[in-house]
């Protein structure tokens, strides 16, 4: 049986596991502001952050950089590490929701905007508050659905 964690072709990049959770807290706040003010601009900025996180990795987003320069030096415990792929996947899902929300805003549909931002906010909040792992819960179901 293939050992997924030992696959040679899978790049093993490990980052501080506390970084994505800190970023999820900021994301929750930003998306809450976007939802309350119905601001497409705030969502666009968050969408850009999601895009950087999905393409380059969460450690390169503004939130990741804040964590590295301001938060990490103040944490005393030894850093738990985490594979970069799960948070990258979550950022990609976040980007898709932001994109749908923005398209809704441009098309003048506040309902589409509200629902899309609402889902992205729920995922970010679950990650920040409960350490919920979106890739664990959704990826396999999505794959099962997509390959039926």
């Amino acid at each position: 049986m293939s050992e997924i964690l030992n696959k040679p072709e899978v790049a093993k990049i490990y980052i501080d596991a506390r970084g994505p959770r800190f970023a999820a807290s900021i994301t929750t706040l930003v998306l809450a502001i976007a939802l309350v003010t119905q601001s497409a601009w705030v969502l666009a900025l968050q969408g850009l952050v999601f895009l950087i996180g999905a393409v380059r990795g969460p450690q390169f987003t503004p939130y990741g950089l804040i964590f590295k320069s301001l938060i990490k030096p103040r944490l005393k415990k030894e850093a738990p590490t985490e594979d970069v792929r799960p948070p990258k996947f979550a950022q990609a899902v976040g980007f898709l929701f932001a994109l749908v929300g923005l398209i809704g805003a441009i098309a003048g549909s506040s309902a589409v905007f509200t629902v899309a931002v609402g889902f992205a906010l729920a995922a970010a909040f679950l990650n920040a508050a409960f350490n919920f792992c979106l890739g664990c819960e959704m990826y396999l179901l999505g794959l099962r659905f997509a390959t039926k």
């Binding site: 293939s2 997924i4 964690l5 899978v10 309350v36 909040f125 919920f132 664990c136 396999l140 099962r144």
Partner: protein, 137 residues
């Protein structure tokens, strides 16, 4: 114009879901088995443990899979009649469907005949694993 209602709805629903999810996460349940399926040596491509085997399904976008793998593979080192087999869910979708695996990590506890006796979605606790293994003869 500010509207706090959507924010309140999202936070209430997400908190309710989060609490429900956290409660079930890692628990080993004995009532989720799909009848009529066996995880045999032929299916798994590896010999089963002489008493029990823990078959862990993992995927790439899953942080707790690593922690679960570390826990289970370390535990079986001291339990000679129990094996830990690790499966990449993405490349075994037929098994994933057969056993109705929805999230990763999911660990299926099977007896020496390959019959499921319990499963855990999420990372189980060491004591829970020991208790589940003790019940398999």
């Amino acid at each position: 114009m500010k509207n706090y209602l959507p924010l309140a709805i999202v936070l209430v629903l997400a908190t309710a879901y989060g609490l429900w999810w956290k409660r079930g996460e890692g628990a080993i349940r004995s009532n989720k088995a799909i009848p009529g399926h066996r995880l045999s040596e032929q299916v798994l491509g590896e010999a089963l443990g002489s008493r029990a085997t823990m078959v862990q399904f993992s995927s790439a976008f899953c942080a707790p899979c690593r922690a679960t793998h570390a826990l289970l593979s370390q535990m079986v080192e001291t339990i000679p009649d129990v094996k830990h087999i690790h499966i990449d869910a993405e490349s075994h979708l037929e098994l994933v469907r057969q056993f109705d695996i929805r999230s990763t990590p999911t660990t299926i506890f099977i007896n020496k005949d390959g019959i499921e006796v319990g499963r855990a979605a999420g990372t189980p606790k060491r004591e829970q694993v020991l208790k589940a293994l003790e019940a398999i003869h």
